[in-house]
Amino acid sequence: MEALWPVIHSNYPRIGDSPEEQKLRRAIADWEQKRIGDDELRQVEDEVARQVIAEQERAGLAIVSDGMVRWYCPFSHLARKLANVQIDGLLRYFDTNFYFRQPVVSGPVQWKEPILLREFTVAQAAATRPVKVVLTGPYTMARYSIVQTPLYLGRIERLTEDYAVAWAREVRQLVQAGLSWLQVEEPALLHHPQDAPIVATALEILAENKGPARLALALYWGDIEPLWSHIQRWPVDMLVLDFTYSPRLLDVIAASGSAKPLGLGLIDGRNTKLEDPAEVLRRLDRLAPRLEGTHHLTTSCGLELLPRDRARAKIERVARIAESFAGGRR
């Protein structure tokens, strides 16, 4: 391994426990009660996004995100701007205590307007480091959509492909605006590994449209090891891996290496307990001899499911461990 960059995984807590850190919560409540308008809410969202970026930069991360602080959930924030997709009731998000709103597909899924472009440009203007943009993967979108049209009934591969085509339109816009890191998240794949070929096809569509941006595939909250040989061949520039749910993955990579750069999710993004840096460094030392080039150190998943103070402590630990690793290698 030539270099190890500390990077954000994806989302980040939008509020904390101090009154200052709760302004977005208050603004959303005011907006829901029509005490403030869209512009005022947007202003607070932008301000919080800038603060989240600054927090990540202060921690020492080399790639940051806007924390996805505007997202209601991983599905509705994207789906609400697609044609023929409505938003339905709440459902638990995998094995978390977080709930998302299910997309309801009533006709052909089509891109109709920019979704993340404005958010990205705000983030990019605020950041001094590259900004990562995250998209919920086409397969995960499809897997959790309620299908109300014969077009997709029993045809998840078709729905996945149409989500991928819609995302490709979005990606082209983002790349034109300067996007350099795109992360596509497919946690649903780990619960339905038999659908790996469907995900591979969707990634090909995105890869063809990503231009110079680097495309990362993030897998979390399930065992990656059974899919390891498949995903090594997929058309992505990086694999971002959750090691907390994959007990054998470290051994597999330590033995066989990786054909692709990795985002090493060795810091638990779901539990408050802070990792012992020495233990993480030992794990990195096992991986390093079999990995070439530059890799990323990150958390196992986004940090939104942690309290803000613990999320901050986690990214500080990511940065500290990456620095120690680099120092040790010098």
Binding site: R25, G89, R92, D95, N97, Y99
Partner: protein
């Protein structure tokens, strides 16, 4: 199935008993008082006075609406896990974490061995029951959900944490029974989160009810999960009644009940608690009748999908009113047609 047990416990309930899941909205003056208390601006006694007043309001409201089995409305609780974590040694309260949309909760952290500190809910149950002749449910959060909705920095694995919590909650159930509670609800909304861990939930519930099964009627509430992943195995849990959110998910569990008969009692969620819209009586009546196509009337209780604390007071009352009215319509028809086969 358990009507004999209810009778043996001295509970003579009508067909299709109406109830609620647990929480009701706190009146504005109580919400304000909780903020003032957190700031140290009012005393514990003053806050409790308002909590008692609000509890009394909800007991009277439920009586006036004609509900059969009442709840205290949890006026003294913030969050269903944090309330217990604040009282159980071994926990500390962590920072705010988002549950959905703009809703957040203080997610507890297990930092040491969990122990029962003495009664945590008994005094409030006694107060609520003293206000009414109708049965009031004892309300607890189950060990699996307590574990799953907490961070764990102490126990080596999830099962160890769940079983330690089960032993503590067993003591609380025992205390409620000794105080006179005959219907006790132990909520496990996290049950379907990891279907492979269902045996842990069942084992923990056996610990909770150990030696107590004949002394009370036990309900478990579950909501917003992948029920089909744990059905029918969830029926192995030793409780008498599963209280299920069903309206928000379009009553889709009924299809599973058609394929594999449901064998326990069930509290069917017939109004969606996540919408400001109060359903009309016809809609709720249709939902009850749909449930009765696959369940026997003797099995069925009727209630909202989940706690109503996120609704406005008038919305919550409106939803309870339509539940009672729709249930009465169906009950009248059932009584007119005689006992079911």
């Amino acid at each position: 199935m358990s009507r004999g047990k209810l009778k043996a416990l001295g509970l003579d309930l009508p067909l299709l008993p109406t109830t609620a899941v647990g929480s009701y909205p706190k009146p504005p003056e109580l919400l304000e008082a909780r903020i003032q208390f957190q700031r140290g601006a009012i005393s514990r006694d003053r806050l409790e006075e308002l909590e008692r007043r609000a509890t009394e309001f909800w007991i009277r409201t439920q009586e006036e609406l004609g509900m059969d089995v009442l709840v205290d409305g949890e006026m003294y609780r913030g969050d269903m896990v944090a309330y217990f974590a604040e009282r159980l040694p071994g926990f500390e309260i962590g920072g705010l974490v988002r549950s959905y949309g703009n809703r957040y909760y203080h997610k507890p952290i297990i930092v040491g061995p969990v122990e029962w500190p003495g009664p945590m809910t008994v005094r409030w149950w006694q107060f609520a029951q003293s206000l009414t002749d109708r049965p009031v449910k004892g309300m607890l959060t189950g060990p699996y959900t307590m574990m799953d909705w907490s961070f764990n920095e102490y126990y080596p694995d999830r099962k160890s944490a769940v079983l330690a919590l089960a032993r503590a909650i067993h003591r609380e159930v025992e205390a409620l029974i000794e105080a006179g509670a005959r219907i006790i609800q132990i909520d496990e909304p996290a049950t379907s989160v990891r279907p492979d861990e269902l045996p842990i939930m069942v084992e923990a519930m056996e610990v909770v009810l150990d030696g107590l099964r004949d002394r009370a009627y036990f309900v478990t509430h579950m909501c917003y999960g992948n029920f089909e992943a744990v059905y029918p195995d969830m029926l192995k849990s030793p409780v008498d009644n599963f209280d299920l959110e069903m309206s928000n998910s379009g009553l889709d569990m009924l299809e599973h009940f058609r394929r594999h008969p449901y064998t326990k009692d069930i509290s069917v969620g017939v109004v969606d608690v996540h919408t400001h819209v109060v359903e009309d009586v016809d809609t709720v009546e249709r939902r009850i009748r749909a449930a009765l196509e696959v369940l026997r009337p003797e099995q069925v209780w009727v209630d909202p999908d989940c706690g109503l604390k996120t609704r406005q007071v008038d919305e919550a009352i409106g939803k309870l009113r339509v539940i009672v009215e729709a249930t009465r319509r169906v009950r009248r028809d059932l009584q007119a047609s005689g006992p079911s086969a």
